[in-house]
Structures are given as structure tokens and as C-alpha cells.
């Protein structure tokens, strides 16, 4: 190596606006070309899996919101479905539909945030103002139905926390009606923008073999042409009853992944509309005193409900001995919960297989040989949240 091409080791992060949280990347450069790129993670490790071992199943639920904090409900859904599978129960149809509606709203909200930050990283500041306008509407809708905005915690083991307030379904319908029109605002700014195209086309190309080898999932896999969507391949929540497309890309580059996520937002809006059309009436949580909390009004007025509440708080639910793996399609990819139960009220072991952790691993592969400026595009295109990586 000559003196002119001396290697420079550059430390990107952990405090850096375009690393989407506390990601540290150690980059070895020759000029502006990345020779080696080593992600260093763990700055946001909170030991959620360990914490869950000393909590009841109900107490674990609020922890799951915090795994991917941009898609709280998607994590709740993965966890409650895994516990329900362990228990061997089916939730009432109304709860199932409400879950689909909220889960798809979460997907749109997560993708909007991704689009805002990804475009912002690459120098396009304006999309952020438009996407946050819609995201704010969604946050208000989450707040109206669940009380929380970022951490709704609306789902419960066996159903959902409460029925929707008056006028909520109409507001969601109105959102879905106007949303495709508003998406044109983003597309006008980006899709044919020459700078955007230059920064994203041909950058971070992933082949089908690489996707399979690295176990990638979600839009990152679909951008390379693999129609792998858990909602289609292993349907849960009755997703097989809905009509939607699984968009795929052709070139597997950053631009294709951008198009895939845009189309996913439209498809999510379609799913929500179908779910609203067919939303049945009836119970919102299973009628089983060993699993579901009684309504708060009953706790204050009926002794048997008070006892039921007390038992669930003190002892929790006791699933049978066994182990279960349940995967769902979270906005960022495949989210899996592996729960081992020893028959007690605390899970013996919970493993959260998060999409960001697995997808981030491919960053070194994508970045090596590219320019330093591309690294920012690549971190954005994988769509990671460091809380989801580190747990």
C-alpha cells in the first residue's frame, strides 16, 4: 500500500443522526471507498428477554412495545399470538379484525417514518413534512383507540383491550380514502427525482442467494424479488381472507426497496378498508376468566370479578408445558417469538427474533467497495431501529 492510499479508520456513531439510533459503524476507508465495515451494536440492550423470565405473561406485554418502538402494535401482536398459540385459544372475530386494522395502521406509520428519515438522510428534507402530517393522523387514531400513541398496548392475550370509540371507524375509513392521494405528494418529490435516483439505483444490490443466506425478510427480501411475506406464506389473524398484493422488486437495490415499501403502504390501506367493511360485531376478548381480565366496571361492583382480577394480577395465566414459535410480518420483516413454558405463570424462556437484528448483518456485505456516502443510504434502506436490534 502506498503512502497516498493510507487506510483511514472512521468511527460513525453511536451518536450520529443518520444511524437511526445508537448504531456504531467502524469503517475502514481507502480514499472515500469503504474497504471494511464493522457494525457495533448493543448500546440499547435492555435485556428484555431476561426481564420476561421474571414476569407474568400479562406483564411481558408492555415490554414488547419497546422492542421496535416505531411499530409498537406489531410487536404486541406477535407476542399475544404466540401466547394464544401456546394456550391453544382462538380470539373472537371482532378482536381479530380490530387487530388487523391496527396492525396495518402500524405498518403504514412505520413505513412513513422510514421514508421521512431515509429521504432526509439522503438530502431530501421535504418528504418528512408530508409523511409526518399523515403519521400524526395515525398517532391520533392510536391514541383514540388505545390511549397511547407510540406504545399503544392495545392488544391483550385473548383479544383487545377495549372496543373502539364512536366515530373511530369512520375516521380510519376517511384516512384510508385520502391516503393514496397524499402518497402522490411523496412520489412527486422522490420517484422521478434525478438526485434520488442517483443516490439509490444500483446501490446496495442484494441477490436472491444473499437474501437466503443472510436470512433476510420483509421489504429487504422482497426488494430482491422474493415474495416472502409471512401474512401470505403462513397466515395468521385471518390474513388469508384479505385481498392484497405482495409487491416485489427486480434489481434488489435501494430504489426497488423504496418502491416496495411505498406499494406496501397502499396495500395496507386496502387491507384496512376490507377489514372495516367486514368488521363483525360481538365480543372483543375471550370469555375465559383464567385468561382475560374482567371489565373494570365489574371489578368495582362484583366480588367474583374482583377475585378474578386479583388472581390474574397475582398469579397470571398458566399455559401448559410446551414450546412454541410464532412468526408475524412486522413492518421491518419477520418478527418471531419463541416461548418455552414450564407450566408456571412465568415464561421459562422467551426469545425474540427481531427483523432489524438479522437484516443489519448484511450491512457489511452491502457497504464494502462502496463510497462512504452510500453507507448512509444503506443504513436507511435496511430500515432498522436500534431498539429492535438490541432488545
Amino acid at each position: 500500500m502506498s503512502e497516498l492510499t493510507e487506510r483511514l479508520i472512521l468511527n460513525v456513531g453511536p451518536q450520529h443522526p443518520s444511524t437511526h439510533g445508537v448504531l456504531r459503524v467502524v469503517v475502514e476507508l481507502e480514499g472515500e471507498v469503504i474497504v471494511r465495515c464493522t457494525p457495533d451494536i448493543g448500546y440499547l440492550h435492555r435485556g428484555i428477554e431476561k426481564l420476561m423470565e421474571s414476569k407474568t405473561y400479562h406483564q411481558c406485554l408492555p415490554l414488547t412495545d419497546r422492542i421496535d418502538y416505531l411499530a409498537g402494535s406489531a410487536n404486541n401482536l406477535g407476542f399475544v399470538l404466540a401466547v394464544e398459540k401456546l394456550l391453544g385459544i382462538e380470539v373472537p372475530p371482532r378482536a381479530r379484525y380490530l387487530r388487523v386494522i391496527v396492525a396495518e395502521m402500524t405498518r403504514i406509520s412505520s413505513h412513513l417514518f422510514w421514508l421521512a428519515t431515509h429521504a432526509h438522510d439522503l438530502g431530501a428534507m421535504t418528504p418528512l413534512f408530508y409523511t409526518f402530517r399523515e403519521r400524526e393522523q395515525l398517532m391520533d387514531l392510536f391514541e383514540a383507540v388505545a390511549g397511547g400513541r407510540l406504545f399503544p398496548c392495545y392488544f391483550r392475550i385473548g383479544g383487545v383491550a377495549r372496543d373502539v370509540p364512536d366515530g373511530w371507524t369512520a375516521a380510519v375509513r376517511e384516512f384510508c380514502r385520502t391516503f393514496p392521494e397524499k402518497m402522490k405528494d411523496y412520489e412527486t418529490l422522490l420517484t422521478k427525482n434525478p438526485i434520488w435516483i442517483k443516490r439509490t439505483k444500483g446501490v446496495g444490490v442484494l441477490t436472491v442467494d444473499e437474501v437466503l443466506d443472510y436470512g433476510l425478510s420483509g421489504p429487504v427480501a422482497r426488494g430482491s424479488g422474493i415474495a416472502w411475506d409471512v401474512r401470505r406464506a403462513d397466515p395468521y389473524c385471518g390474513y388469508d381472507e384479505f385481498d392484497f398484493l405482495v409487491p416485489t422488486g427486480e434489481n434488489g437495490d435501494t430504489y426497488d426497496r423504496y418502491l416496495v415499501r411505498l406499494e406496501e403502504m397502499r396495500q395496507s390501506a386496502r387491507i384496512i378498508e376490507q377489514a372495516l367493511d367486514r368488521l363483525p360485531s360481538g365480543d372483543i376478548i375471550v370469555d375465559d376468566p383464567t385468561i382475560a381480565y374482567p371489565p373494570k366496571t365489574d371489578v368495582f361492583t362484583k366480588i367474583e370479578s374482583l377475585i378474578q382480577h386479583f388472581l390474574l394480577v397475582e398469579e397470571g395465566i398458566r399455559p401448559p408445558k410446551g414450546e412454541i414459535f410464532h412468526h408475524t410480518e412486522a413492518p421491518k420483516g419477520e418478527l418471531g417469538f419463541y416461548i418455552v413454558s414450564d407450566g408456571s405463570s412465568h415464561p421459562f424462556r422467551v426469545k425474540v427474533r427481531t427483523p432489524s437484528f438479522v437484516n443489519l448483518q448484511v450491512l457489511s456485505k452491502m457497504a464494502e467497495g462502496r463510497l462512504l456516502a452510500d453507507l448512509i443510504a444503506l443504513i436507511g434502506t435496511i430500515d432498522i431501529v436500534l431498539a429492535d436490534v438490541d432488545r
Partner: protein, 160 residues
Amino acid sequence: MSVQPAERAYVTEVVEGLPAGAVTERDSFRDQWAVTVRKDALAEVMEALRNRWGFRYLIDVTAVDFHPRNPRFQVVYHLWCHTRSALLRVKTWVEGDPPSVPSMTALWATANWHERECFDLFGILFDGHPDLRRILLPESWEGHPLRKDYPTEGPDWDVD
């Protein structure tokens, strides 16, 4: 939510098709199959699953600590076959101090970080891993938090 009959039949076929000498236990719970494989046959079984049976996608690698039982750890692999939409769980018991199992990084690149995490949090060694070091915790950390004899509050926790 429910498993389709064709996919269930395929997993059953795979579970029965694995070499009898390698598999110590076959177990089905809530429509999910799990096979427990002898540690010395693990590499061979995983290779057959990937190349012969089409389980091209390694979803996850993790471990469970059954302290104070001996053997103490169980390493768990979740595999998915894209073409048949089939899920299979492969488990193996690990003993020894420090415990070790063969690495799967040669078969699936994704195993790299999964195995590092497993090493970090359980202290299980993966033989043949190209870069086995801590991933979530700092290099200087002592102990492996997901072990059952590691207190949830942390080793230095003091009530006062």
C-alpha cells in the same frame, strides 16, 4: 393460523426421513414439529435439511438454559422451507464447561450473529465460527446474563 394439511404432511415426512441414529426425540406440540438431534450428528442433519429437504432459510438460533439439569443447555434452531411453507425446530443438548456445538456459519451466513449472541448471553462456544466474540454486551463484561444462575438484577446489585 392453522397449518395446511399438505405442509403438515411434508414436515412429518422430513421428521421421519431423518436418520434414526441421529434423532433422539421427535415431538409435536400445537402443530409444530421439533426434533432433538445428537450433537455429533447435528452438522450432518442440518446439511441434509438445508440441501436435501429445502430448508434454505435459518430463521433463528437460540438456546435455553435448564440449570441445574445436566446436560444443561439446549441449542435451538428454527428452519423454514420457502417452497413448502414448512417450519421445523431442531434442538440439541449441550454439556461441558464451557459447552460447545458445531457452528452453522458455513451453511448459513446468517448464523454468524445469531451464534455470537448465543455466545454472548449464554457462554456457549460455536466450533468453527469465524469471529466468535460478544455482540450485545461490552467486551469487558463478565458472565452470561441469560443463564439461569445469573441474577436478573445484575451481579453487583445492592439493596442499599
